[in-house]
C-alpha cells in the first residue's frame, strides 16, 4: 500500500492536489458544521459533545485527499477508466452533504426554496449525520483499497520493495 501511495505522491503535482483537497474540505466542512466562525471574528470552537463529529470530518477530508489524487493519477498517467473515480467522488459528496445541517444557512435556503420537501431532506441529513458520515468513510476506504490494489497490478510493483 505504501509503495502505491509513494508512487503517486512522489509527483509534487499530486501532493499539491492532495493538500489542496484536504485543506479545502476540512475548512469548508468545519465552517459548515460550525466548528469555525468567520464573523464577527475568526474563531474555532469545539463544543462538548461534538468531538466525534469533528473526528469524522477530519477522517473524510484525509481519505478524500488520499483517494481523489490517486484516482486522477490512474486516469492521467495510466490512462485507465474513470470507474473507480466515481466511488471517491461519491464518498466525498455524501460526506460533505451530511454536514449541511438544517440549522445552517444551506439548510435554511433549501427549506425556504423547496418547502416541506426541503425540510424533510435536510431533517434526514441532520438526523442521520453521523451514520451518513460513517458510510462516506466506508465508501472512501473501500475505494482507497481497490485503487491501491489496481495501482499495484497496473504498475507491477515488487511487493518486497
Amino acid at each position: 500500500m505504501t509503495s502505491a501511495i509513494r508512487l503517486v505522491f512522489s509527483n509534487s503535482k499530486y501532493l499539491l492536489l492532495s493538500i489542496t483537497i484536504f485543506s479545502t474540505m476540512l475548512v469548508g466542512l468545519l465552517i459548515l458544521s460550525e466548528y469555525i466562525f468567520l464573523e464577527p471574528y475568526v474563531v474555532s470552537h469545539l463544543p462538548s459533545g461534538t468531538e466525534f463529529g469533528f473526528i469524522l470530518i477530519v477522517t473524510i477530508s484525509a481519505l478524500s485527499a488520499l483517494v481523489l489524487p490517486m484516482n486522477i493519477f490512474r486516469i492521467n498517467i495510466l490512462k485507465k477508466s474513470k470507474q473507480k473515480m466515481g466511488g471517491g467522488v461519491f464518498g466525498s459528496i455524501i460526506g460533505v452533504a451530511a454536514g449541511a445541517c438544517s440549522c445552517g444557512p444551506i439548510g435554511f435556503a433549501v427549506i425556504s426554496t423547496f418547502g416541506s420537501v426541503g425540510a424533510t431532506a435536510t431533517a434526514f441529513l441532520t438526523n442521520y449525520e453521523i451514520p451518513i458520515r460513517i458510510i462516506a468513510i466506508g465508501i472512501l476506504a473501500i475505494t482507497c483499497f481497490t485503487t491501491v490494489r489496481s495501482l499495484k497490478i497496473e504498475c507491477k510493483f515488487d511487493p518486497n520493495s
Binding site: 460550525e34 463544543p47 445541517c101 440549522c103 444557512p105 435556503a109 425556504s112 416541506s116 435536510t122
Partner: protein
C-alpha cells in the same frame, strides 16, 4: 363588467374581513406591548425579557426548539452569558422564534407562549432545550410530549391544552419568523446584540469569548 366588479368587490371584502379578523383575534387574546422594539427588530411578539428590562444591552436570539446548534449554544455559551451579563444587569435577553426546521417547530414555539400565559415561559423554554432530542420531527416535540412537559412543570393543564389545541399563538410565531427573515437571519441560532450605539449580528452557536468581546465593546 358589472359581474367582474361584483367579484372584485367580494374578494376585497373577504381580504379586509380576513385581515380584520386576524388582528382582532390577536389583540383579544394576546396582551403584549406592541411597541417593543430592539434596534431594527420588533420583539413585541417575542419572549418576555430575561433579566433587567432597563439593562443597556439586549441580546436578541432567533432560534428553533428543534435546532441542534441552538441546543449547543444553550448548554455551552448561554450559562456564562447569564452569569456574567444578565444576572449582573449589564444585559438582558429576548428569544424570538425562527421556527422553520420541521412540523413540530412552530407548535413547540406556540407551547412556550401557552406556558407564558401561566408565567412560566422561561422554565418551559429551558425544559425544551434540556430535553431536546437529536432527531428533528422525531416525536420529542409533538403535541403530546409538549403537554407532558407542561405537566412536569405543574402548569394548569386545562388552560395549557386548550391554548395549544386552539393554535392561539400560531400567528405570533409566524410574526416572529417573519421578523427573523426581515432582519436577514438565515440560520439558527442567530443573534443581534443591541446596545446604546447600534447593533451587531452574531451568526451561529459561537463561543462565549465572541459574545464577551462584542458585549464588552458596547458597555
Amino acid at each position: 363588467m358589472n359581474k367582474t366588479g361584483v367579484i372584485i368587490g367580494v374578494i376585497v371584502i373577504a381580504i379586509i374581513a380576513g385581515v380584520a379578523t386576524s388582528f382582532t383575534s390577536s389583540s383579544e387574546t394576546v396582551n403584549l406591548d406592541m411597541s417593543r422594539t430592539h434596534g431594527t427588530i420588533s420583539t413585541a411578539m417575542g419572549s418576555p425579557i430575561l433579566g433587567d428590562p432597563s439593562a443597556p444591552i439586549t441580546i436578541v436570539e432567533f432560534g428553533d426548539y428543534q435546532c441542534h446548534q441552538c441546543y449547543n449554544w444553550f448548554h455551552n455559551t448561554k450559562p456564562a452569558i447569564v452569569e456574567d451579563y444578565i444576572e449582573t444587569g449589564k444585559a438582558n435577553l429576548v428569544f424570538v422564534d425562527l421556527a422553520f426546521l420541521g412540523r413540530d417547530s412552530p407548535i413547540s414555539a406556540q407551547a412556550s407562549y401557552c406556558a407564558e400565559d401561566q408565567e412560566m415561559y422561561w422554565e418551559y423554554h429551558d425544559m425544551l432545550y434540556t430535553f431536546q432530542d437529536s432527531k428533528i420531527d422525531g416525536g420529542w416535540a409533538n403535541s403530546e410530549r409538549l403537554k407532558a412537559f407542561a405537566g412536569d412543570l405543574r402548569l394548569d393543564m386545562e388552560l395549557f391544552n386548550s391554548c395549544l389545541d386552539s393554535g392561539k399563538y400560531s400567528k405570533r410565531v409566524q410574526y416572529n419568523t417573519q421578523q427573523a427573515r426581515d432582519n436577514g437571519v438565515r440560520a439558527t441560532p442567530g443573534f443581534f446584540i443591541v446596545g446604546p450605539d447600534g447593533q451587531e449580528k452574531i451568526g451561529g452557536a459561537q463561543p462565549f469569548s465572541v459574545f464577551k468581546q462584542v458585549l464588552d465593546k458596547m458597555i
